[in-house]
Symmetry: C2
Subunit: 355 residues, 2 copies
């Protein structure tokens, strides 16, 4: 299948010839104890993961996710053209320090908890363009590192609001490659093309939406309008209806944001039938996470361990994934600013298997 990018509308593109060749996720102890825990490639028991800081531990998680996805794709680090990825830490600490180890050319990205779909979308566009042969999209977060940076030191032991999300200790990475039958654009002839699996069929780039929410303990409310905007732009440009998807998977809206989203989108009742949220899936209700999981690694990990295998097996034939990000900083919050948000969409389809 020949590769290409077709503009459907402003910021909405149909892609041809791009597949996900492998996906992996690494999680913390709490994530390992959740309903998706057994599906993680690795889980760590110690928050410091053998390092001396939570930030260094997050970088180590990010590196492990990269290496696990390489292993599952049958590729070495030096066979990858680019890593596209990011995290929540100031100056992308974990992405940059993990890239110091893996030495793969790096595009650092930031869309807060929407970084994973920003990375997959951009990576898929680059592979569809025909020059990039293997792009790895990743995102990472660490509960302890994020809490002390964005909110309060854990040691303070403050009571969390019921609308607050739990930043996941998790990293996920997926490998993007041309589909079978594609001619490599250089001397990569010996490289086996991908057979079957999961195709990236469309991408929508989010714009920054701000409905005026001010509460960093309620990011679902701040992010739901951005998800609704991206969903509507994607639906309208692709000409699909909610029923055309087996699953619509939002990022980290959680319990509160998901309810708001259903009220904001067109045909909310039909939407609800197809909708699930990564933030609601990562933990079980008895894990005391209130609104659900969040963090750049949450959507990445849930895609890698839950959605990707189901699309690959044909159980889900078409999935629309819309990770959402709250773009506030502690500085903007302290200055009394509201919380702008963004959501990037990526559409995946099952290849073959009687399609």
């Amino acid at each position: 299948m020949s590769r290409g990018v077709t503009r459907l509308d402003r910021g909405v593109y149909a892609l041809a010839g791009v597949t996900v060749a492998g996906a992996a996720a690494v999680g913390g102890a709490k994530e390992g104890a959740g309903p998706l825990g057994p599906r993680f490639d690795l889980t760590i028991e110690d928050d410091l993961h053998g390092t001396t800081s939570f930030e260094a531990a997050e970088a180590s998680l990010a590196l492990q996710a990269v290496d696990q996805s390489l292993k599952k794709s049958g590729l070495a680090r030096d066979a990858v053209d680019a890593v596209l990825g990011g995290d929540l830490l100031n100056q992308l600490y974990s992405t940059n320090f993990s890239a110091r180890q893996h030495q793969i050319p790096l595009y650092g990205l930031f869309s807060a908890c929407a970084t994973f779909t920003e990375a997959v979308g951009l990576g898929a566009m680059l592979v569809a363009a025909g020059g990039v042969e293997r792009a790895l999209a990743m995102a990472a977060s660490h509960h302890m590192a994020a809490e002390r940076q964005f909110r309060y030191p854990i040691e303070l032991g403050y009571q969390r609001a019921l609308t607050a999300s739990w930043t996941a200790t998790a990293a996920g990475a997926v490998m993007l490659r041309p589909e079978m039958g594609e001619q490599a654009s250089d001397n990569l002839g010996a490289d086996r093309a991908v057979e079957g699996g999961v195709r990236v069929t469309a991408v929508t780039t989010g714009r920054v939406i701000d409905f005026g929410g001010h509460d960093p303990m309620d990011m679902g409310t701040a992010m739901a309008p951005a998800a609704a905007d991206t969903l509507e732009r994607h639906r309208s440009a692709t000409g699909r209806e909610w029923g055309d998807y087996d699953q619509i998977l939002t990022g980290d809206l959680g319990v509160v944001g998901s309810r708001i989203l259903v009220d904001l989108v067109r045909d909310g009742d039909r939407f609800r039938d197809r909708h699930e949220d990564c933030g609601r899936m990562l933990y079980s209700p008895d894990q005391d996470v209130h609104n659900g999981g969040s963090g750049a690694g949450c959507a990445a990990a849930v895609f890698a361990v839950w959605a990707y295998p189901r699309i690959q097996s044909g159980e889900l034939r078409r999935v629309l994934m819309v990770a959402t990000g709250a773009l506030f900083s502690p500085t903007s919050y302290q200055q009394g600013e509201s919380i702008p948000a963004i959501a990037h969409a990526v559409e995946f389809e099952c290849i073959g298997r009687g399609a």
Copy 2:
């Protein structure tokens, strides 16, 4: 000229059919008083620029750079498919808050002071891919906002080291579009294609290089090895020699980093003849900036006001721009980590005019 991306080597791509349709820069009072001052599209006299914080002022600068580049390209905000950009502030404050105003679909990027060439490179790849018709690449920084975030509050009045750079108050933006004769991939037929001007011909994605520098008051030393790595990868994959360029323009190495770079690259003497550094160009020696200018906006502004007009006029026929970024954070510094760095390269050529 038909569009396309060709892989020359890992992370190095030749592009066809992509032009820079317009470039603009906005600067602060000190930048306005420097040797390039008269060339800025706008300069502001007040560091707060009518806002209540330096961060909000930076967002306002970023928005003005976007709008100025739109004006010079003859386009409205809603005619642009994507903004690719970033800044130095935690969680990309100024990029995200300016995007809340311009409402153009956004890819948030972070490579510290190398963000401008990351943005131009990625944007050019997307336009070359054939789906994105108009991409705007931008980067911004603000001296007062950066100093208090990365180093010390200005009010402390500490003595700056002679190797320290001066973070520029500046924002730059460039519009990327298909070259004349290209068929638009959608219903944009009425849109005039670009005639003549500046072509983006090649891109190299940087990898993270860390030679062990620990001093945030000497980023030139930390970044020079990353510049050397990217320069060598670009030169070797494209088969060019330093003499093939009219100008090789590094980002913010300044006086110290530029000297080190000449020692690190192959054929250093020939390299020196073609080399200039944005950090050395933005201010004059009597402006007391020591090592030179830095900040994500420095390279963006120097490209927009100095290099772009010279390539457009044919005075410079081929320019290689390599912006450099120090990827440390205050957290990584406080934890005793060394300073990883990255450099992204973009090659520009003059179109027509007797070529």
